[in-house]
Every structure is written in C-alpha cells, then in structure tokens.
C-alpha cells in the first residue's frame, strides 16, 4: 500500500542556517503530496501542497519540489527562523478520502 517516510524524528538547527526536512513516499498512483505544520499547542495546518504541473509550491519562505523519479517531496527553507520551530508532517493523498501521514519531524531552531 501507499506509505510516507520521514527519516528524521528530530532536527535541531541554529537560526539562519538552511532547513531541509526529508520526505519520501511509495504510491502506485501519482499522488498529491502535502506538508503540514503544527506549532506548540496549536492545530496542524497546511503549509504546502504539490502541483500537478511541476510548479514549486512556496509559502512563508518554505518550498518543496516533487521529484517523481526519486519519490521525494523534501521541505526546504534558505534561512531558519526561531518561529519555524514546530512539528512538520509530510502526507500524501490517495485521491480518495484519506491522507497517508509520515511520522513527523520535530524542528527546533536555536538562537
């Protein structure tokens, strides 16, 4: 069946350094991929969604590129901010009613 893998459970970075959170997937279809972010004591919310036309989605300085050849949708940002500290989930849509979720990566940004 479909699956999503986030290999890093915890990533700790210094403010100003680049961020990359890994996400790879397995699917028999061409799914949509998503990144959701959850700040402490808040609800998860959508950060990015892949496009069908290979455009690179961007939001709040974050971007992700869907690479079908490597089945990846890594999340990147050129310069981390303290406010980026949060839990990040990668997910794929099975084009039905369910999202398949990765296990999440906790990002901590230190001054």
């Amino acid at each position: 069946g479909d699956s999503v893998t986030q290999t890093e459970g915890l990533v700790t970075l210094t403010e100003g350094l680049p961020v990359m959170l890994n996400c790879t997937y397995q699917s028999t279809y061409s799914p949509f991929l998503f990144w959701y972010v959850q700040h402490l004591n808040e609800a998860p919310k959508l950060l990015l969604k892949s496009f069908t036309d290979n455009k690179r989605p961007e939001h709040q300085g974050f971007h992700a590129t869907l690479h079908k050849s490597s089945s990846s949708f890594h999340l990147q940002k050129s310069s981390a901010q303290l406010s980026d500290s949060a839990l990040y989930y990668c997910a794929l849509s099975d084009s039905n009613y369910q999202l398949i979720w990765g296990s999440g990566t906790k990002l901590i940004i230190k001054p």
Binding site: Y36, A43, Y89, D94, S95, Y97, Q98, L99, S103
Partner: protein, 111 residues
C-alpha cells in the same frame, strides 16, 4: 473562514469509563476525521465519515465508536478508557482528501 471546534479541550476519566469527544465544523465540508496523535507516531486515523450518517473505520478503530449525527458534527467515544490511551485526539474536515482543516485537539487523561 470556517472553524473546527472540539469539546472538551481536556477530558479526564477513570479507567474503564466510556468517554465522548465532540467536534463541530462550519466549513460545510462533507468529510470529517478523527485522528489520534501520539508523540513520535504521527497521526493515526481512527474513524472518518464522507457524509452525514456514514462511518468508515481507520487503522486504529478498535476500542472506539463514532457517530456522524449531522453534516456539521462528528463525535468519538472511547468505549473503555485505558491508561495507555492518554493522547491528543484531533478532529478534521475536508473536501475529499484535499486540504484538511484541524481543530486544536482534545487531550484525554485517564486516572
């Protein structure tokens, strides 16, 4: 914009007790979900509903019941609370499995 309201925010019960969480949405979305969030394990689907009076089991449905009384509300019952069930329960709604909108969560505490 819409909102997802989960009640109560904290639910404290005794071991073996039947406990119910409620969720209301005003997005007019057809699909609603209940997830359980445990640290390091991501979001695990308990139940979802694609329309009023519909119920579909997720991977974690054992030990839970759900009810979609009307389009705007979706409740989850823990049939016999156990101490290892202490977690955060998240309700969400969407149009199919595109963007999910989450509530802020309900924390279950079993004493």
């Amino acid at each position: 914009g819409g909102i997802i309201t989960q009640t109560p925010k904290f639910l404290i019960g005794q071991e073996g007790q039947k406990l119910t969480l409620k969720c209301q949405q005003n997005f007019n979305h057809d699909t609603m979900y209940w997830y359980r969030q445990d640290s390091g394990k991501g979001l695990r689907l308990i139940y979802y509903s694609i329309t009023e009076n519909d119920l579909q089991k997720g991977d974690l449905s054992e030990g839970y019941d759900a009810s979609r009384e009307k389009k705007s509300s979706f409740s989850l019952t823990v049939t016999s609370a156990q101490k290892n069930e202490m977690a955060v329960f998240l309700c969400a709604s969407s149009i199919r499995a595109d963007t999910l909108y989450f509530g802020e969560g309900s924390r279950l505490i079993v004493v």
